[in-house]
Amino acid sequence: MSNLAIRWPANQAELPKAAFHREDLFQREIERIFLGPEWHPVAHRAELPKPGDFKTFRLGTAPIIAIHGEDGKIRVFFNSCTHRGTQLQTQARGHAKEVECPYHRWLFNTCGDLLAAPGSESFPESFRKQDYNLRELRSSDYYGVIFVTASPAAPALEDYLGELKPLFAKVLGDSRLTLLGYQKVMFSSNWKEYNDNEGYHAPLLHRAFRLLKWQAGKGTQRATEYGHVGLDAELQSVPNSDFLNDPSLVQCRDGTAPKSVIIALFPLATVLKHIDVINIRLVIPHSVDETEVHYAYFAHQDDDSAMLRHRLRQSSNLLGPSGFVSLEDGAVFNRIHQGSMTPGNVRYQKGIGAPIAPPCIVGQNDESANPLRWEYYRKVMEIERERL
């Protein structure tokens, strides 16, 4: 593939702002990243618990559908009829015994097999029904999170998750979850601005932490060779919850020490637990400057009614697009997008020292994992750096 004509600085801690605005990069990201050999979460099992349940989503810009088959297996397909490409399901979630395309009424079962095609007696002799089953994507699940890849070249999922594997149990427990619901929002930003968040900003941007005199406790942040970043940190209990008339918003009631565990996967998804909020964030990169984020929240199947209520109340108000400690993130994504329509490079500073290579541990309140993620991005995209 020919090199893109973008000047990528020689210094690893620098990034060209044009990376957030170039249409040609976006096209290549769809090919190389979203339809390339990366794994992308599309759902948690708890979102489609019964045979016949389905959920639609996007892999990059391509519509996909996860279907819980009558045989108990969850498969992911392109949400596109194998005849002429009509989108098969239009709802975000639903339940159906079969999948019927409305255009010429081709009928598929929940395992993706083509059952019937009206008028097939006058199809060419070469037509074989089994060649027109729904186009299935390679999928694999980990702690109930269903991942897909459009590429046979992706490594085994567990190798891909690497050093972050132990964090899944810390977020999802035994993975027996129930769905509480969604918050969905559009950011006027590039998907790479959305995923370029770090630990440096948290106590500074989010005034809630200062007003509560609330600091993160001990923790570890790791960067992996596939561009993922994982944080596992204790949270001090809140000293000044007087600021809130309802301090239950920041109280931990699940019997464990309050923690923040964040699995920030390349390219875009986040699986996290913060106090008692269990949250999976999935992202659709619509265009170079439109990014849609779905926040799915979960409870545990063993929660009693008081715990369920607590999780619901905390999940609704704490960490989403309008959350007490998170609303400002969205503002920054959008503001970086505007501010990046200026020439030149940005340079990461906090925690940046001699060049390091993943897998490695980085400072919890640093931005030193960001250049490592960008370095992985640059390699996947086959963009060369300028020479020193």
């Binding site: 619901g181 929002v185 559009m186």
Partner: protein, 160 residues
């Protein structure tokens, strides 16, 4: 109060409510709820699938007051501001026990960003419980904004 005056009292409350939001007078917004009042803003997608998660869940006086401090103290100065215009149309007003009425209304909220353009922020319907006192003033006991707009075009700072 005389039942024939109830719709007028309810409409006066709705007008106070939307004008307090559009003027960003959050004390006046708080004053639209009675002491047991609650405010929920939820997507229709969740509501229809019996998924209880909300976008804002202020189910007590304490949380309503906290909502005001989120806006005025916590987030102030960080977010991209926008100006709203709420339009409300009452569809139903049904008695529901002593002094209590179930009120259903459609709404549309326009927003204008600092860049100057105006667009629709959300559309949806309110399902409210309103208490009309003997003196003829109405307050919300429970206000639920159900957003048809499942994916909002920007993050919501202010209640709807």
């Amino acid at each position: 109060m005389n039942g024939s005056n109830v719709p007028a009292a309810v409409d006066a409350l709705q007008s106070r409510y939307i004008s307090s939001l559009d003027r960003r007078d959050f004390d006046a917004w708080l004053g639209c709820f009675d002491e047991q009042g609650s405010y929920i803003c939820i997507s229709r997608e969740n509501e229809e699938q019996s998924l209880p998660l909300a976008i804002m869940m202020d189910d007590s006086r304490e949380r309503l007051k906290d909502r005001v401090s989120y806006i005025t103290q916590v987030w102030a100065g960080t977010f991209e501001d926008y100006w709203t215009r709420h339009f409300v149309q009452r569809l139903e007003c049904t008695p529901n026990g002593a002094d209590s009425y179930l009120v259903v209304s459609n709404f549309t909220v326009f927003y204008t960003s600092a860049r100057g353009g105006s667009e629709i922020l959300v559309a949806g319907c309110y399902a409210d419980q309103v208490i009309v006192g003997a003196d003829g003033t109405a307050k919300f006991r429970a206000k639920k904004a159900v957003l048809d707009t499942t994916t909002t075009p920007r993050y919501l700072v202010y209640p709807v």
